[in-house]
Amino acid sequence: MQFPAMTQMVQTIDRSPALRLFFGSVLTVMSVWICLMLLPTRLPGMALAGIGPNWLLIWVVIWSLKRSVWQGLSAGLVLGLLQDAMTEEHPTHIFSLMVVAYLISRLQKQRVLREDFIFITLITFGMAVVAETVMALQFSFLGTRTVVDIWRHHQLIALSSAILSSLWAPVLYFPLNQLWKWSQSPDA
């Protein structure tokens, strides 16, 4: 007996652009939250040398693909602050995520690359390396570790994180892309 009510509810939401936008936003926030909750986990198959995928990076990449530079940068700022909250504040994750967001949202203007599974995987791979490099540069300026240690560590982190993030990126890309298409389309 619950199903007709639910169907009707879904139809109501589907018909109204405002409601769709509202539910789209709620689900977007939920997806960020899910990514945050995945960060401390090291599930079997999701970790390489004790390193897991960088879920927030994947999210920022997907978000920035079809958005303006400013929208990308704000997402980088917000998610950077959130990741700082989960770990340590110095050095900050804001810069790495904002650089990634900036690069991606500039890249879309060229429209040379198709959007598909391979594209998402490749671009996430590259951006994971960029993000970890920004972190390594910040560490180098902080001077709390020796430069040799930092860059040796960077090699391992950048490679593992890039491989895992790129492989898990499509898992996040397809639902989010569908969600944003649905919530932002002008008519039902």
Partner: protein, 274 residues
């Protein structure tokens, strides 16, 4: 004025939303992410393993006891003549499940499912069967974040229990990042060999002295400026499921530092407490 209004009509909502998102993120960051860690703890609650006492790595425990014994024997010899030496009282540990790891690859953290409500304090020492694991660096109501010994940021003063050669350990990167650390000695000529046990030293302000850390795996005497040794941590940090949290006991500097002697009528300030 009109252009401002037009701009507002076009971008007002998105500016407000962005501002709200940034504001919320800032608030979460200012509260040390306790909301996020708490919700993580809440979600993963059904997945905790129950403490399986019998299956708990007995080998590691035996090693820990052996290390403690060797350390105590050596220390006893050195301290026999010292009067007024009081050993720190052993307090009961708070058992805590490991519910997560670091949310970033640059730090080595553990997320434990016990917090302020269970009596965990900042800087509490975290132990596991085998020895020291790390130190509580953030704590909220039900969760605490532990900085591990293997963290590359973390430097801890340690001593070789056989010869009392002192130095500090720092985290390593690479495949064995979680299980091995590098020890740098303070002296050029040190007596250390493979198999020696390493414990936290009394110079350490982060940990009480004498806690088992690991065994010397290899020594590089030619390393400049000072010799280095690779230490195998006895606590199985990579495979931890349960740990015990002990409130941090301040280092006993009274027994080590000599009494400050007033010179020329000047009164020296008392030794700084770490």
């Amino acid at each position: 004025m009109l252009s401002v209004r037009r701009w507002w009509e076009r971008f007002g909502t998105s500016t407000l939303l962005t501002g709200a998102a940034v504001g919320i993120a800032l608030i979460i960051r200012q509260t040390q992410g306790s909301f996020l860690l708490e919700s993580y703890q809440f979600i993963t609650r059904p997945f905790y393993n129950s403490p399986d006492r019998t299956a708990q790595l007995e080998n590691a425990q035996a090693q820990e006891l052996q290390q403690r014994l060797i350390d105590l024997q050596n220390k006893n010899q050195k301290l026999e003549d010292l009067l007024g030496f009081t050993q720190a009282q052993k307090t009961k540990g708070i058992p805590a499940p490991v519910i997560g790891r670091s949310a970033d690859h640059w730090w080595s953290h553990l997320v434990l499912g016990r917090g302020k409500k269970d009596g965990v304090e900042l800087n509490s020492v975290v132990m596991s069967p085998g020895g020291v694991v790390g130190r509580v660096s953030k704590v909220s109501d039900n969760v605490s974040l532990v900085t591990l010994l293997s963290d590359a940021f973390n430097q801890v003063g340690v001593t070789v229990s056989r010869t009392r050669a002192t130095g500090f350990i720092k985290g390593q990167s690479g495949d064995k990042a979680g299980s091995q650390v590098i020890m740098e000695f303070f002296d050029k000529n040190v007596d250390v060999r493979r198999g020696d046990t390493v414990v936290t030293s009394s110079f350490s302000t982060k940990f009480p002295s004498g806690l088992p850390v690991g065994r010397v795996e290899s020594v590089d005497m030619g390393k400049s400026p000072s010799p280095e040794a690779v230490i195998q941590l006895t606590a199985p940090i990579a495979a931890l499921e349960w740990t015990a949290i002990y409130p941090h006991l301040p280092a006993q500097t009274e027994d080590i530092t000599p009494d400050p002697e007033p010179k020329n009528g000047q009164v020296l300030p008392p030794a700084e407490k770490p």
